[in-house]
Symmetry: C2
Subunit: 427 residues, 2 copies
């Protein structure tokens, strides 16, 4: 008998392909170490005797991966969405992020954020911090303690930002970044990794962009930023970088899309053909954030096209452009917004289905972390056990329909019974 | 001292006007009988000694009015939103509504619906049943027991419906309606009233429409139906009623907008100038249902225009086109969809603010029931007491901001502590 093996018995559902679910009702998900061994209708002979978590009647699905959100903005979630992106940053976001120079405030805010993220359906996340080194390390400490797997970025911003939230120059921004990376290396986190984080082109000088591109390649680091979120932002980038023919080029030019580390760009609501070519050439992940794009009046990303082009697409809550950490809500919003885009903008792009949204939230974003988001053999055992008995109905529904419903109703009678990351139970 | 008076002490917020909130933090809402007496920073001398509900730190707001939803569709909420309206009706909705011929099934389903509506933020609702007289009475019995105030309609449909869910002809549909109305009258409900409910023009013959118009005027009854929800539906109506120059005319022609009883039309996503004139001429209420219009790919209603035209606008969840009974969620969706409409369709119509959505959900729909939706003196005392301490933040927020946030996060740490309808505590 395997010492480090266990099984979960329940109604097991995961993505077989972009638009198809695999379902084993009343089945056994076997985990060995940190990996999925397989899903079986009966527990195979070789696993007889391992610990079995009895979760009959509960849904058992892969964890959800939130590949774009801002930890310091969580404090004002659900507020201040009266403006478009650029005014929203200056009026609501920058004044809040400024507070993270104060470690006492940062501690209070990040305690709440980390605890709520732990209790959310998210198992892995790609997270923006602020420009402050110490607060970003504090955030990483807090996230490490949750057992969730995260990439966390100290933000770089050395221009076009208010004095109170602007790094002195490229050299000091880069020096702070190296200091932060060195500190993080010494901490030997198990679950928490650094990611380079130029805020977005408007707030980063060419010298800073070039320095970060060099650092990325030098240390093989991943990188996250924002791309083509809002029409005024795109105009501004064209003005700041008159040599660029698309916003995406402003990252490519400085080597930020090269090197071993993966890259995730949030939004991509208005990417041109040329920008899409750049994203494809460098295997960039698109983090689509439908709720944020609604609440900040940004628009709706053409996700169907990105899928048809074979691009990497993951899902983000973009807290606090999005109000909630719920990736189930993000899935429902992704489907709904794709329908409005079909109706109002472009009937050549068919709406996304709930199964496709589930794929994007699991496998789509999961692959940013490696073999993550599936119950196929060898995948990291990230698991949610969901009790949906509180969503009452006289209907007798199969597990795939219960999962579809859960995306719309997770907080209305749904309850997370257990949560595992890489085979470790975190909740 | 007044025997039938009490006060609630808390952070009191209500709509002063369409876009402005009135707020008395740490104040006293005084109720006498079924009506609001006033809101005061301190308890006035003449009320010293009345019972005071201590709800310090909790939000105290008017109840929310859901003026369009389908009780029999609640069983499949969150499911089957893969189709547009007409196919969705045939594939998902009609097969479900058929089941309500079976009173045992209806009882099980409506028990859940009524209990969940009681626990929702809704204090008053305008509800579709099915075409079945007995099941509709059962629904009314269940709703009466909750203490919520509702209008409930037995649905009329005598054409273009599947055999299993179609009344034989106009005469039998009208006879059933009269029988239902007579039964209801004998029951002497305190809180539950009948409303005439032609499903929509496509499923109602001219004879039936005329008969219902006559009945409406004869008995002074209110009436609810659907209008200009979906483009294919509108085309179909034009084909069925070639004499009409707009969909709204198909109700007007048969006298359904005349008489003493108020009229509510759900959706109005594509109302023409002529249709808007008809709605204004007859003081018709528009029930806007943003989540449903997203999930069924219908579109986004031009609510700003209707407000500018001085029309009556209320909000509906449209369960199960909408997945949830939460009117807070409907408020957030109303704001968000108005932003997408501004961005994607028509920049002449400014997006709605959270304060405006709150007005529409309280006063806007409330006036369908009389003096409802405000804490001004003489209004019906419909009250929600909300505990938002579970929505954790390091920020110190005033009550109006906490209310704004609650609309986005009600089910994520929010809790309804108490609920009153017309001065009666129901929860």
């Amino acid at each position: 008998m395997l010492q480090n093996a266990f099984a979960i018995h329940g109604d097991i559902v995961w993505s077989k392909s972009l638009d198809q679910l695999e379902c084993v009702p009343d089945g056994y998900l076997v985990v060995v170490g940190d990996q999925v061994q397989g899903v079986y209708p009966q527990l195979p002979d070789e696993y007889q005797g391992i610990h079995v978590e009895g979760q009959a009647g509960h849904l058992v699905i892969p964890g959800l991966n939130d590949i774009h959100l801002h930890a310091p903005q969580y404090a004002f979630r659900g507020l201040g969405m009266d403006l478009e992106l650029l005014d929203w940053l200056n009026t609501h976001t920058f004044p809040e992020e400024r507070k993270y120079a104060d470690l006492d405030y940062a501690g209070r805010a990040y305690d709440i954020f980390a605890d709520d993220l732990l209790h959310s359906p998210t198992t892995r996340a790609v997270v923006f911090g602020t420009m402050h080194v110490e607060a970003t390390e504090l955030l990483m400490d807090r996230l490490e303690a949750t057992g969730l797997v995260t990439y966390v970025g100290k933000v770089n911003m050395d221009r076009n930002s208010p004095d109170y939230l602007c790094e002195k120059d490229a050299a000091s921004s880069l020096a702070d970044t190296r200091r932060w990376l060195d500190n993080v290396e010494r901490k030997h986190y198990q679950h928490t990794r650094p990611i380079l984080t130029p805020r977005f082109t408007p707030t980063c000088s060419d010298e800073l962009m070039a320095g970060l591109g060099q650092l990325k390649q030098e240390r093989g680091l991943p990188l996250q930023s924002h791309l083509s979120e809002n029409l005024s932002e795109i105009d501004w980038v064209h003005g700041l970088c008159p040599w660029s023919s698309c916003y995406g080029q402003t990252y490519e030019r400085f080597g930020q899309l090269d090197g071993d580390g993966k890259v995730v760009m949030a939004h991509c609501n208005y990417s041109t053909d040329e920008e899409i070519d750049i994203l494809k050439r460098h295997d960039v992940y698109v983090a689509t954030c439908p709720q944020s794009n609604m609440q900040l009046s940004s628009g709706i990303a053409p996700i169907r096209r990105y899928l048809d082009e074979g691009m990497h697409v993951g899902l983000g809550t973009d807290v606090a452009g999005g109000a909630t950490l719920s990736m189930f809500r993000a899935m429902a919003d992704l489907v709904g917004c794709s329908k409005l885009r079909w109706r109002l903008v472009d009937q050549s792009l068919t709406p996304l289905s709930p199964a496709e949204a589930f794929y994007i939230a699991t496998v789509g974003g999961g692959s940013f972390f490696g073999k993550v988001g599936s119950f196929r053999k060898g995948y990291q055992a990230d698991i949610l056990v969901l009790d949906d008995s509180g969503v009452r109905t006289p209907l007798d529904l199969d597990p795939t329909l219960r999962l579809e419903r859960y995306a719309y109703l997770d907080e209305e009678g749904g309850r997370m019974a257990q949560k595992y990351v890489a085979g470790r139970r975190v909740l």
